[in-house]
């Protein structure tokens, strides 16, 4: 089977994510200014030679703050995606493979979690009780993981009844080996897609919290927070709002597109017929 070369759209998505990743890792070291440096004399100026995207009302460089903000835009969502994928895949596989009581137990808990209004719970726990960014990350894992469990379980269920799974059982292989070696590789497309989509959910979720003034502390360079803080200077320097909004949108879109392409690729790379 020939590996298709990624199309221009997919390449653009990969490039966008790579740029955000580089910015997150290097952060302030590649930023032209200190993202926290205030210069009230030069507050809320538009884009120009000195400040490419202008400054906010405290005179902080928007471009540098965007670069520094990549950290909270990447780190939290990545943690959420890793956490939900690990927990969701494990519980989904176990629920599908073991069935019966364990399945019922896991899936009824999932139903219960589904009944909770996720954003509301998040705002109450993080906003009202306090706890900051990493509490929000933890809550997001808890709130997103039911979806993963459901998706992985349903993908695993379609495989479970196939003859190759029964052959493995007839061979007398252990349950853990059947799940890890035989079941897992065949639900991998779903797992990888889940990972990327959870990343997107968390990115948008965390940014929304920051926008609402919860999560990251005031003053932190964070895309969601910048969106909120700079609304007052929208007429003086529109780029102070448009740029972080654009970055959130582009990053989320790129990850979603990648998830879509990733699913097609992995599931056609020898896993399925035709």
């Amino acid at each position: 089977m020939n590996v298709r070369r990624p199309g221009p759209v997919l390449l653009a998505c990969l490039a966008a994510l790579a740029l955000v990743l580089v910015a997150a890792v290097l952060g302030e070291r590649i930023a032209p200014y200190d993202p926290l440096l205030q210069d009230p004399a030069r507050g809320a100026v538009g884009p120009g030679g000195l400040h490419w995207l202008g400054t906010d009302d405290l005179g902080r460089d928007i471009f540098s703050r965007l670069i520094a903000g990549a950290w909270t835009a990447i780190a939290g969502p990545l943690l959420v995606a890793i956490g939900t994928t690990l927990i969701g895949t494990a519980l989904g596989l176990v629920a599908a493979y073991r069935g019966r009581t364990l399945d019922a137990l896991i899936m009824r808990s999932v139903d219960l979690m589904y009944a909770l209004p996720a954003m509301l719970v998040l705002i109450v726990v993080v906003g009202v009780l306090g706890g900051g960014y990493y509490a929000a990350v933890l809550m997001l894992i808890l709130l997103v993981v039911p979806t993963d469990i459901r998706l992985v379980r349903s993908a695993a269920l379609t495989q479970r009844e196939l003859p190759y799974m029964e052959s493995a059982r007839v061979l007398g292989l252990s349950g853990s080996r059947i799940v890890l070696v035989h079941l897992l590789p065949n639900v991998l497309p779903t797992v990888v897609t889940n990972f990327l989509l959870d990343f997107v959910t968390a990115l948008v979720g965390l940014s929304s919290l920051s926008f609402l003034g919860m999560g990251v502390p005031v003053g932190t360079p964070d895309w969601g927070l910048m969106l909120a803080e700079n609304r007052s200077i929208l007429d003086l320097n529109p780029w102070s709002v448009i740029a972080p909004a654009l970055l959130i949108t582009v990053t989320a879109t790129a990850a979603t597109m990648l998830a879509d392409a990733g699913y097609d690729r992995i599931s056609s790379a020898g896993a399925r017929r035709g």
Partner: protein, 576 residues
């Protein structure tokens, strides 16, 4: 009455030829079978004849029906032709009918519009009666409330509702049980005769073609290789491929000494352009065969053969091997120790908690001797798969005991899902070898196992996706044999395979039984296959064993009414 005339029809997809220069003619009221293995292009040819080619496929040449050229005709005009003039019947009765519409609606759709409600209702009832459904309430049922045979009858009534002059039936009975298949084929023949309608039957089964049709066309890799009256083809096949198919077919009447499959696999039509398409698998090929594609040449009344060497090799073609000598040595050697003993096995399923349980197996007892090959036949729902699942420990029986001495292994029906697509063949075999019980002997290597089932050692590096159906089934057998089972349970292992490949797998299983001494429990619906591979036969009907005995005597002198019905339904290998 109208006739269909296909002339030099070529179908291609993005420049790749799928069907090459097919010419066929169906006179008014004539029945013609188009026979071929999977990938031969037979279904595409039929679809082109109905003006129903899938998007992206282009047809060249000509398809003339009743004096009108169908190729290039706009969809709007084709639509008036389909249903009214050309009826179409497809393989899977369940997906062919719309699950949201009742049986009656399907039929009424194609009826002339001018009928009032009451008249339409009466007409639907009449049409249902025509296909043997006398219960008018069937008209109000949905497809999921009907059995496969019923669905196929409803589909047939719907296909015939517009009173077409030609019916195109694409594997109409493949998904049905033997007895139902017989009923549907008989019905098809009866309706065709009473209506004087033409029939184009697409099938992979030469026996069905011989049974039903006047004329048979054999298709391979997109080309027609031979065309002859059914009776003549059965006796004097002129093309090496047809001869090969006939020698690969087991017989329901007697066990053949050997079954010979055709080596190799079916090439894509595009790979074999400009030469005889059968060259790579033909034992008689010479330079000419690789240099140009042979034209069909007449060799007798209505008998055309597309083979360069037809005249030279006519006497050399392989013929079905004669009946084997009476009962093979192993079957005669008295009572043997049992490898599996089943007694009073009962299995019930509960569909809903409130509903009474469905009895899949009603307390059956069965013993499989060491080295014995036991056939298990029965229709779908007879409990044969439940029995095998209980033996394998995949399902817990409701009551009764099962004792299996040593390891039992299995080979399943669908070769495409029997192997884990994520792992290589070698991985699967090594994993199975790891489960082999220690017996003091040197275990075979991965290559030994592949060699045992007739595959080259380099297949170990391949993934299932790169293997054909027959090859996958061999790997599944090799994997099962890796743990050195005392009992190998084969659940319809050849039902999804083409005839030429089926023969190879059957021969392999027989060798496993004879040479390795592995007991076989062979589950199938095909009596010819059972005759070929098994010593003893068990007939299962509605969860009960209704007949049991040496395969030959059960098939030669069936005792139970159901066995007799099964035998009468089996398609004959020679034309009637």
């Amino acid at each position: 009455m109208a006739d269909l005339s296909v002339d030099r029809l070529t179908i291609s997809h993005r420049g790749e030829t799928l069907v090459r220069e097919v010419t066929l003619r169906i006179g008014a009221g004539e029945t013609v079978a188009l026979v071929g293995e999977s990938g031969s292009g037979k279904s595409l040819t039929a679809r082109a004849a109905a003006g129903l080619l899938p998007d992206g496929l282009t047809a060249r040449g000509s398809v003339v029906f009743d004096g009108r050229q169908l190729i290039g005709r706009p969809e709007r005009e084709l639509r008036t032709l389909r249903g009214r003039r050309i009826g179409l019947l497809l393989q899977d009765p369940f997906t062919m009918l719309n699950p949201m519409l009742t049986a009656g609606t399907h039929i009424a759709e194609t009826l002339p519009r001018a009928l009032g409600r009451a008249a339409r209702r009466a007409e639907v009832t009449r049409r249902l009666a025509e296909v043997g459904i006398t219960d008018p309430s069937v008209a109000d049922r949905y497809p999921f409330q009907l059995s496969g045979g019923m669905c196929q009858r409803v589909a047939m009534a719907a296909a015939l509702a517009g009173d077409p002059d030609l019916l195109i039936a694409d594997e109409p009975t493949t998904a049905l049980d033997t007895t139902v298949q017989r009923e549907v084929l008989d019905l098809l023949t009866r309706l065709r005769e009473s209506r004087g309608m033409g029939l184009l039957l697409i099938t992979h089964d030469l026996r069905v073609a011989f049974d039903t049709c006047d004329r048979v066309l054999v298709m391979y890799a997109g080309s027609i290789l031979e065309e002859a009256p059914a009776a003549r083809l059965a006796e004097r096949a002129g093309h090496p491929y047809t001869a090969g198919l006939l020698t690969a077919m087991p017989s329901v009447r007697h066990r053949r000494a050997t079954l010979t499959g055709i080596p190799g696999r079916v090439p894509r039509a595009a790979e074999v352009a400009g030469r005889c398409v059968f060259t790579s698998r033909c034992g008689h090929a010479d330079d000419r065969c690789g240099a140009s594609a042979p034209e069909p040449r007449p060799v007798g009344a209505g008998h055309l053969v597309a083979c360069h060497r037809q005249a030279e090799i006519a006497g050399l073609l392989s013929r079905p091997s004669p009946p084997a000598e009476k009962a093979p040595a192993t079957a005669a050697s008295g009572p043997r120790p049992a490898v599996a003993r089943v007694s009073g096995l009962r299995k019930e399923y509960r569909v809903r908690r409130s509903a009474p349980p469905v009895v899949a197996l009603g307390g059956i007892s069965l013993t499989i001797g060491d080295g014995e090959s036991v056939g298990l036949v029965g229709e779908s729902g007879s409990g044969k798969s439940t029995l095998s699942r209980c033996l394998l420990g995949l399902t817990r029986p409701t009551a009764g005991t099962i004792a299996v001495d040593g390891v039992a292994q299995c080979v399943f029906q669908d070769p495409y899902t029997s192997l884990n697509p994520a792992h290589t063949v070698g991985f699967a075999l090594r994993e199975a070898l790891g489960r082999r019980p220690a017996d003091g002997e040197v275990p075979p290597s991965e290559a030994d196992l592949l060699d045992l089932v007739g595959l080259p050692a380099e297949y170990g590096r391949r993934r299932p996706v790169a293997l054909s159906g027959g090859e996958r089934q061999r790997v599944a057998i090799a994997r099962a044999l890796a743990v050195r089972p005392r009992l190998l349970i084969c659940d319809e292992p050849v039902a999804a395979l083409d005839v030429s490949v089926q023969a190879q797998v059957l021969e392999l299983l027989r060798r496993v039984n004879r040479e390795l001494g592995t007991s076989l429990l062979f589950i199938t619906h095909d009596l010819a296959v059972v005759r070929q591979v098994t010593d003893r036969l068990v007939v299962l009907y509605h969860g009960e064993i209704v007949e049991e005995g040496p395969t030959e005597s059960v098939l030669d002198r069936p005792g139970h009414a159901y066995t007799r019905r099964l035998l009468a339904s089996a398609p004959q290998e020679t034309a009637v």
